[in-house]
Symmetry: C2
Subunit: 253 residues, 2 copies
Amino acid sequence: MKSTIPDTGVPITPSATNGGDRQENRQDNRHEASLHGEILLRLRDYVVEGNIPDGARVPERQLCEMFGISRTPLREALKVLAAEGLIELLPNRGARVRQLSQRDLEELFDVMAGLESLAGRLACEAITDEEITAIEQLHYEMYGHYLHRDMHGYFQANQRIHESIVAAARNETLKTAYANFAGRIRRVRYSANFARKRQRWAEAMREHEAILDALRRRAASELSDILFQHLRNKRVAAIEHLAEPHEDTPAAP
Amino acid sequence: MKSTIPDTGVPITPSATNGGDRQENRQDNRHEASLHGEILLRLRDYVVEGNIPDGARVPERQLCEMFGISRTPLREALKVLAAEGLIELLPNRGARVRQLSQRDLEELFDVMAGLESLAGRLACEAITDEEITAIEQLHYEMYGHYLHRDMHGYFQANQRIHESIVAAARNETLKTAYANFAGRIRRVRYSANFARKRQRWAEAMREHEAILDALRRRAASELSDILFQHLRNKRVAAIEHLAEPHEDTPAAP
DNA sequence: AGGACAAAAAATGAATGCAAAATAGCGTCC
DNA sequence: GGACGCTATTTTGCATTCATTTTTTGTCCT
């Protein structure tokens, strides 16, 4: 075994065959056409899913072999990921997975909060009754998951609600930025399934009620406040959770 | 002259000599170290300053000659600029300067409004009395420019106030995102020096008074509202201005 | 034996080369 | 005379190659 990357069972496809048509909502959705775009998507997922340890080197050569491409398109993708803040480029020392400090996470959560807050504000201007009904549906669905203590289902419904609000803002630029930042913390979220605390869970449900209420009344600035506070509370819960030590990660021998 | 790029008097330095130490506040500030980073900064400025017409092709070969580099680092920079939304990459058809539709501008203004709104909210949590005093200083300075009808001075002071608020938010991630979006509309702002309307100008001054007032009281959600509305009004003024025909741009023969 | 130095090995950063696609240029046909 | 189609040139995308820098390894000296 020559690899320094922990073998996590990710399928190593020698050629750059792309199975599914991906529906990325990025600025230019022609990424799947060119090789560097394809690699960008795949490499982003690869990093986001935590296949490379935090702060570890991103081995160009190995990734090239893994994707079955030359270094040129890979390096182009690396530059973009660096611009996105997912990795960092050290001069003459290659790329490293960007290690997010607690402060970084706080900042990211706050920016997400700001974006969602904005989304709510804008949504009040344009949202249709049908969209609100749809969100209500999701809300009740989420409530059901809450009652059944189904965290996975709850999480999915929750995410869809937030996405619906962002969608209702009718602002593609916002949507893109939102997805971008969400991607950065997805890495953390992936390993840390927080919100396990009953207390916080119930609180979140109440906040969601308030969100829905404000949305129904199209109370823009009020909804803006509620959403910000909601995300702020999420941030606190997440940071608290991450501060605690966890034994889920298999320790190295 | 073989160049198809309009010669706007931008100094064409054949070698990649970087005169001044640039103080970019991007995620990784080692950009000046590597060639592609250097090129990224220069190319971004070049595009933002409008040296290439809207929607026009970005000529790889010529830019290479202009910067005195090979295509590889330039193409890397192009990928990043595309990710930033400044240009768009058409498969097998090269890069084009991204033409911002009116809708795009509206969206961008709204996102900027959301970010400043967030900045104000966060600033209320952490801003010191000294910082507020500094902003007050800028405010009075700006007021002076307003009275003297000095638009340039007014604009500079205005921008510094907004930057100060963003700085007071103590959030580097936000600061970076803000700079990023600001860069995208800088291109428009460059040619369109709006806010020429007296009416709007006076209104903006009043809004700034309200901003300062809310800031002094650390009224987070109130400031958030005011800032959003302020930027919203700016948006309206800017769009109105751009909708009007202008004769400042020299017509092509 | 441990550390410092030096050479080898590997990796990075940029340039060049090559195949495929697109654009333009030109002739032909209707 | 204009539209269509074919070829030549340019341009793009990626692979390969070359020069530097870094990292590792091995050796020598203390």
